[in-house]
Point group: C2
């Protein structure tokens, strides 16, 4: 395998002649690549808003055509229909399954990416028109630039370079490109399940380029994500909202019960108080501790980037272990209570607290669900309230972790070394990316997350961008 990049080819690191040609080609065609990206960004392929579904399908077909131009054999797979909350049914966009090369002597890498985007409107606070790629100081602003049209095009551009230069690609490549990622990859899991003995049968490695580095300048490889279990705690005190003057003082109020339940979950340092919840947490290994030391991390810059004055921990080891290797619990809000500005002296009759737990290996989702429910029921029974409690886990996604000694991680590290003249940060993601775990569970293949965007790329935000250089990676690919 070999990692190829443009943008900082001014400092190549003992490149072969072939590699030199590849770098030169990429540098020479950078503006063309950016123009292609502009064309993709111009398609409002928002998978969240159903009225834009036709644009998503159009975008998938544009991507399919680009793959055909590379010489890949491309299938568009129908994944059925989506039922909207309104009850209306609409078609899902097709999923691209493509392959290029069938040499049984070469390993097969399957790249995953998506060409749908989150909603974006200029009135959301964009300083540039979100569907009109705008370059400012080497940053290419627009919806989808980093999440995930830019990374998909990076892979296509890399293959195009090999083809143009008539250089043999050292691997067989497959592409799985979808258009429903931002809406939860509806229909994808069923497709992967159906294809595990077919499309995936000869795949050795799955590479996902759909996340970002930890740094704004140093590349990273991501080998784990936390899971997520979303809970709702409902307390009911009556049939209708009450007036706090008329009955305040003589009824068990749903809000005070709920507040006590939520307050029982976590202490002021974020330690989860549910008994047994840490029992199955995998201990931090010496290898990981060493990796943490190598990660480029500026605490001051990090705090500024997330907009907080202080964080609870000072050292990299404490910070990364709490973000990646330990569960966390966040309380998101309350449904059914007063939430507007101003005053409303109401006793809400039915309130639903929302919290979630990011779980880590080797916590078991259903065991944790039981622990949480049993604990909250015990806390509630101690209050001797006449109200009605209902705790439910609304959603559960498992954590994922890969073996960083796997050949594709070794290869990717070497490639990044060649292009960037430094080792990548070996990182996990505190957030949940269910797709990595899903691919691993169903296909049993080695999965790697290979981020192409930088820490400040602002996915989902009103200033989404990808950069040309110095931290550019939009013209990088792995073979």
């Amino acid at each position: 395998m070999l990692l190829l990049a443009g943008g900082n080819s001014s400092s190549p690191n003992s490149l072969s002649q072939e590699e030199e040609r590849i770098f030169q080609y990429i540098d020479g065609h950078q503006d063309e690549f950016v123009q292609n990206l502009a064309g993709w960004v111009a398609v409002e392929s928002d998978s969240i808003q159903p009225h834009l579904r036709a644009e998503v399908t159009r975008m998938v077909k544009i991507a399919a055509a680009s793959l055909q131009d590379l010489g890949a054999s491309v299938m568009l797979r129908d994944t059925g229909i989506q039922q909207l909350p309104s009850g209306q049914n609409i078609s899902l966009p097709p999923v691209i399954l493509a392959k290029l090369g069938e040499d049984p002597l070469k390993p097969t890498v399957c790249f995953y990416g998506h060409v749908d985007v989150m909603p974006a409107k200029i009135q959301d606070g964009w300083k540039t028109s979100p569907y009109n790629l705008t370059e400012i100081d080497g940053n290419l602003f627009g919806r989808g630039t980093t999440d995930d049209k830019g990374p998909v095009l990076a892979w296509i551009n890399a293959v195009k370079t090999f083809k143009a230069l008539n250089i043999e690609i050292p691997v067989n490549i497959k592409f799985l490109i979808e258009g429903m990622e931002e809406a939860g990859s509806i229909g994808l899991e069923e497709l992967v399940e159906k294809e595990k003995e077919h499309f995936f049968s000869d795949v050795n490695y799955i590479v996902i380029s759909d996340n970002i580095w930890l740094s704004t300048t140093k590349p990273a490889l991501t080998y784990g994500t936390r899971g997520n279990a979303c809970f709702s705690v409902q307390v009911e005190c009556g049939e209708k909202d009450l007036h706090s003057g008329s009955v305040g003082g003589i009824v068990h109020e749903a809000m005070s019960d709920l507040i006590a339940l939520l307050d029982s979950l976590v202490n002021s340092c974020g330690h989860i108080l549910v008994p047994g919840i840490y029992d199955d947490v995998a201990p931090l290994t010496e290898e990981e501790k060493k990796q943490y030391e190598l990660i480029e991390f500026d605490l001051k810059e990090y705090k500024a980037s997330i907009g907080v004055k202080e964080i609870i921990y000072d050292t990299k080891e404490e910070i990364f272990s709490h973000l990646w290797c330990l569960p966390s619990l966040s309380i998101h809000g309350i449904e059914g209570a007063f939430y507007e500005p101003g005053i409303k002296t109401v006793i809400p009759s039915r309130v639903i607290g929302k919290f979630s737990i990011r779980q880590v290996p080797h916590m078991d989702l259903s065991k944790m669900e039981c622990q949480v429910k049993r604990y909250l029921e015990r806390i509630f029974s101690k209050r001797k309230s006449s109200n009605k409690l209902t705790v439910s886990m609304e959603m559960g996604a498992k954590p994922w972790v890969a073996n960083i000694n796997d050949p594709q991680y070794e290869a990717a590290k070497k490639a990044i070394q060649k292009v960037f003249n430094q080792d990548p940060d070996m990182i996990r993601d505190g957030a949940t990316i269910p797709i990595a775990r899903m691919f691993q569970d169903i296909t049993k293949k080695s999965v790697m997350m290979f981020p192409i965007g930088a820490a400040d790329d602002g996915e989902h935000s009103q200033k989404e961008k990808i950069s040309r250089f110095p931290c550019t990676t939009n013209f990088i690919s792995v073979f």
Copy 2:
């Protein structure tokens, strides 16, 4: 003084000949009185929605004309302008100051009522057209029937009866009728302050008919209301909302701080945990305990009416003392957190908890404000959170209590005895009616709340009504 009523004159209680004539007149003119009420209800005098302000003013002028027809001298007092949240200024409706009789040998009673109403739309769930008075089984449904057009007309009808029968009214009467009550009586306090040495100088008694009985069948006199202090507790953890996956576990989350602060306020039985808060609470007197025993109160019916299965206390003494003589604390909700159905794995950056304390005599508002702030600041400092806390009291209205041995209470009791053949319930209101305290504080006159509506009249609801009989009181007045 003498209380006069129609509707249940079938069981008069040793009436004089004059009283008999009055009862007969009222019974004979009941349909005319209902027609008048229908005309008033038809005016959409909603003081909340600024675009209906002209209707409020029109309604005030209709009421003024009715008073002029009685022979009263009527002034319409301008109270200036209201600044809307949009910055727009609109005129306040005038306030009616009227007087009838100036006999220095008679006491002077000032009646307070209002002719504006809460908003009402058929699509809010009304089963009858809210501005079209609709009679069903003796109940007169419509916005304003009980709050407060019906009670205002009751007083006017009573005077009209005396006039028609050429019977001398034993008191001088003044009327203060406003059109901004539902919007917080904007401008009224300033007017009362200006008029305390003029309009109010010869007033002996102020009677407010703008609340309801505790029972659906037994009249009541109200001699106290709780105050209300509304607090907001703001915790900020950063400049922008954060992702619970990306940073969950390493930041002090504003929500967990806020939840802990709110949880520190009150225990599961509603006992307020702020130190010192009960210090100045007036103890329950033996006289009040005895009064409680006389109150008609069906616990099962009460629970059904408020829609709860259980209340914390069993006895009338416990219930009334907790509703009327002890402070209560209710948590209303949280601004800035996730409140919608579904899931959002957000760490909100700035959350504002809203709670209020209904205070009772002789709690001091500013002392309580200090106690609450100091307590919450202490709880917060123990958490060693790096977040920013701001506690503020957004609104404070004082409690009010009258001396039930005051002559006007004695007179009202006797009158109710005469008409209903039973003593009224002597009640307080757990809710806050700042106007009683305001009149008392500024004018230093005796204030009585003389409810005319029954417990099931549904003020502010989609089934607001007033009844003809058996619990009718819309043709009652006190002189």
